[in-house]
């Protein structure tokens, strides 16, 4: 008896290709998608390099050296974005374009007078979109290390200079007074208590000259110390003394500023991204479910009755599409109004961008749902197929996993999904606070795909007349 039930289950599965697909192909498909995301992205076993966009001043040697150093760092993928414009407006435009491309985790900007010299300030500006906090910390650490190394190298150079100078002075003195015997080390001309000492304090400023009495010299009678001995010809009588500790700790701190211009006036912008991701995912499901009523009506004969009525096929398809479109707009509005009410995503200050993106996203999903309903034979077939496609699109398009953690390859694949374009658009509106004109690519793709799918739906809609 049990075997009979087993046979029934097997036969039903065999006779239902869609169920076979759902049972066996869908898990493999999902595994593949997530494996691709995790193997090339956030959990690859090796650290995902930070993508650093460089905007450097032209003809600056120190900047070139830093660039060279950064390029050698395996944790970074450096891309030259050209010369940083000098005027403020052009600079901000370049920054915005680079951020909107979503190709960089971080932008590094150096001033025209960038220098690593001790007397200059080490000034670096990092611009982030706030999505990848790890990138900021990593690059900041790399820059601080670079600065520290530069400083140490400077100190070593100074020490070497000092040692060389001391050796030369000693040699000159030796040549001048070979018989001086001062076994107790007192009254050495090396210890001129009143001579000025040159101190390198690492401040970056020219070495200060200060006078101080050494404790030993202060105790000596003036006769012992006077008259001071002249140094060898051509040599300074100054004593070269290098305070290495002061050199390493004193001086100007490196100025590494981190800007997040988009999130500057937002309390919690990340919520807007989550709202968009979830909203698009559920929008796809809701639209497909609504389009399924077309199949339901076809199965019951209601569609035949409507087709016989005054309403034409074009009106029916258009009416259904409009209903799904408006429902989509409403669903997105409810989602974002809730997010605004609870999480303060600054919806009202981005209302125009939101309306544009909500309209385009709803149009694309409505067309997708109508096309799916036209292609499928039954409601259950539609639900099964749509579930696979929607979850796949959502996984690749960023509704489930943020796109910034994905590899470039996965990001490119994600470009074939509604989710990616919709999320990029919402990201521009709420995260980058880009002007509405910047939404042109997303609007074009979403409306274009909506148009193509609507035309395909109309071309295939003759099937409704033929019956299921």
């Amino acid at each position: 008896m049990i075997l009979t039930f087993l046979r029934i289950a097997c036969l039903r599965l065999r006779n239902n290709p869609l169920e076979l697909l759902l049972v066996f192909v869908m898990p493999v498909l999902f595994f593949s998608i997530f494996a691709m995301i995790f193997s090339q992205g956030i959990a690859a076993g090796t650290e995902k390099p930070v993508r650093l966009g460089l905007l450097l001043p032209e003809g600056n040697v120190a900047a070139a050296e830093l660039q060279s150093e950064l390029r050698q760092n395996s944790s970074l993928i450096c891309t030259d974005l050209g010369v940083l414009p000098t005027e403020s407006e052009g600079r901000e435009r370049v920054i915005l374009e680079a951020q909107n491309s979503s190709r960089y985790d971080l932008l590094l900007l150096l001033p025209t007078d960038f220098s690593t010299a001790e007397e200059a300030r080490f000034q670096v500006r990092l611009v982030t979109d706030g999505q990848n906090a790890m990138a900021v910390a990593m690059v900041r650490a790399i820059l601080e290390e670079y600065y520290a190394v530069q400083r140490v190298e400077g100190v070593v150079e100074k020490l070497q200079d000092a040692a060389q100078a001391a050796a030369e002075v000693a040699a000159a003195a030796e040549r001048a007074l070979p018989a001086v015997d001062d076994p107790e080390g007192q009254g050495s001309f090396f210890r001129d208590p009143v001579s000025p000492r040159r101190v390198f304090d690492g401040s970056g400023a020219p070495a200060s000259v200060e006078s101080e009495l050494s404790p030993v010299a202060a105790e000596q009678p003036a006769s012992v110390l006077d008259p001071p001995l002249d140094p060898a010809p051509g040599m300074s009588a100054d004593v070269v003394d290098v305070d290495t500790e002061k050199l390493l700790t004193a001086g100007p701190e490196p100025q590494i500023s981190v800007d997040n211009p988009q999130a500057a006036d937002q309390q919690n912008p990340r919520i807007a991204m989550y709202a968009a991701g979830i909203a698009v995912l559920f929008l796809l499901f809701a639209c497909t479910g609504h389009a399924a009523t077309m199949l339901e009506e076809a199965e019951s004969g209601t569609l035949d009755r409507i087709l016989v009525s005054e309403a034409g096929l074009l009106q029916i398809v258009a009416g259904k599409w409009l209903g799904i479109f408006l429902m989509g707009c409403l669903q997105l509005s409810v989602m974002f109004v809730f997010a605004e009410t609870v999480f303060r995503i600054h919806l009202w200050s981005h209302l125009d961008g939101f309306l544009v993106m909500a309209g385009c996203t709803s149009a694309a999903t409505a067309s997708f749902a109508m096309l799916m309903a036209t292609l499928c034979r039954t409601r259950s077939q539609l639900q099964g197929t749509a579930t696979v496609i929607i979850l796949s699109m959502s996984a690749m398009g960023g509704s489930m996993i943020p796109r910034f953690v994905m590899s470039d390859r996965m990001k490119e694949l994600g470009r074939w999904t509604f989710n990616a374009w919709a999320l990029d658009g919402f990201q521009k509106v709420f995260w980058f606070q880009s002007p509405i004109e910047s939404l042109r690519p997303e609007v074009t793709v979403l409306l274009g795909s909506s148009l193509v799918m609507s035309l395909a739906t109309l071309l295939l809609s003759g099937r409704w007349r033929r019956g299921l």
Binding site: E299, S300, G301, T302, D304, R305, I306, L307, V308, S309, E310, A311, R465, R466, G467
Partner: protein
């Protein structure tokens, strides 16, 4: 020919194929005002395809379908046939009133005319008391009546019903046929497809039998019986022992245990019984039966199973 005797609907040599498979093979048919036409045939005979062609949902490959609307229907939207699908083709989550409003609007009836028509249809279908009930909460019979009511809001000259009485109780069936009689009395031509042969026998003015995409019989029941089976009544005698006497008009089997004769009229039966009384050994059983649509149907379409 008066206008009442001119056909409302005329199909002339209509052919339709799906991917090389002929569904309709030259159907010619006429439907007259006020006529209730019973249309039946085995599954896959082409009934649905023919109805879809009449409705305009499908375009015939060959032939023509024409509608001639009588003057009594002029000025309305009568040229569009009313279609009553077999399933419950209404919105289950709308009330009776809302369903009527929606389908009335789809048929182009609006405003006060729609309200007036809804009132009429509610009375006609005996659904006035349930006008505010959701369609899914109605009984099966009520749902069937609502299904029909939604198709007549625009006063169609032709109403096409696909098995309107499947799964309803006798009371609801009576009500549905009463509704159809009211329609035909008003001049509407009704084409009814069904497998309920006894209903067709007793209710329909004319019967059309379809098989393999062709009309194999068309007429009233006696005509169909005569054309397909010959004489309409059958007398069968069973004997305990082989009958040795010859009986006029009876045909015996080989063992002479069974004899069959056909009668043109039941009025001939007393004469037959009188002859039988004179036999030395009377028959063990006498079975008298009149041929019905079932016999015609099986004679025309055979006994092999269909799709």
């Amino acid at each position: 020919m008066t206008q009442e005797h001119q056909p409302i609907l005329t199909l002339q040599a209509v052919r339709k194929s799906y991917r090389g498979r002929a569904a309709l093979q030259g159907i010619s048919l006429q439907l007259f005002p006020g006529e209730l036409l019973g249309f039946f045939g085995p599954n896959g005979a082409g009934k649905t395809t023919m109805i879809r062609c009449i409705c305009g949902l499908l375009k015939p490959d060959e032939g023509s379908i024409s509608l001639r609307i009588p003057d009594s229907f002029r000025g309305s939207r009568a040229s569009r046939p009313g279609l009553v699908p077999q399933n419950l083709a209404v919105y289950p989550d709308l009330t009776v009133q809302q369903n009527l409003e929606v389908f009335g609007r789809l048929e182009g009836v609006r405003g006060a005319a729609l309200q007036q028509r809804i009132d009429e249809v509610l009375d006609w279908s005996a659904l006035r008391d349930r006008r505010r009930s959701l369609a899914r909460t109605l009984s099966g019979g009520m749902q069937r009546r609502l299904n029909i009511a939604c198709s007549v809001l625009h006063r169609p000259a032709v109403l096409l019903l696909d098995e309107p009485t499947v799964g309803v109780d006798p009371q609801s069936r009576e009500r549905i046929y009463a509704m159809m009689q009211e329609l035909t009395a008003a001049g509407t031509a009704v084409l009814l497809t069904t497998h309920q042969l006894e209903e067709v026998e007793t209710r329909c003015d004319r019967i059309v039998v379809m098989d393999h995409g062709q009309i194999v019989a068309d007429g009233r029941l006696p005509q169909l019986v005569a054309s397909s089976l010959g004489l309409p009544h059958r007398v069968e005698l069973s004997f305990q022992h082989a009958c040795t006497v010859e009986l006029r008009d009876f045909e015996f089997d080989e063992q002479r245990l069974t004899a069959v004769c056909r009668l043109a009229s039941m009025q001939q039966l007393p004469g037959v019984l009188e002859v039988l009384q004179r036999l030395p050994e009377p028959p063990q059983a006498i079975n008298v039966r009149s041929f019905g649509l079932q016999d015609v149907f099986l004679a025309l379409t055979g006994r092999s199973l269909r799709e």
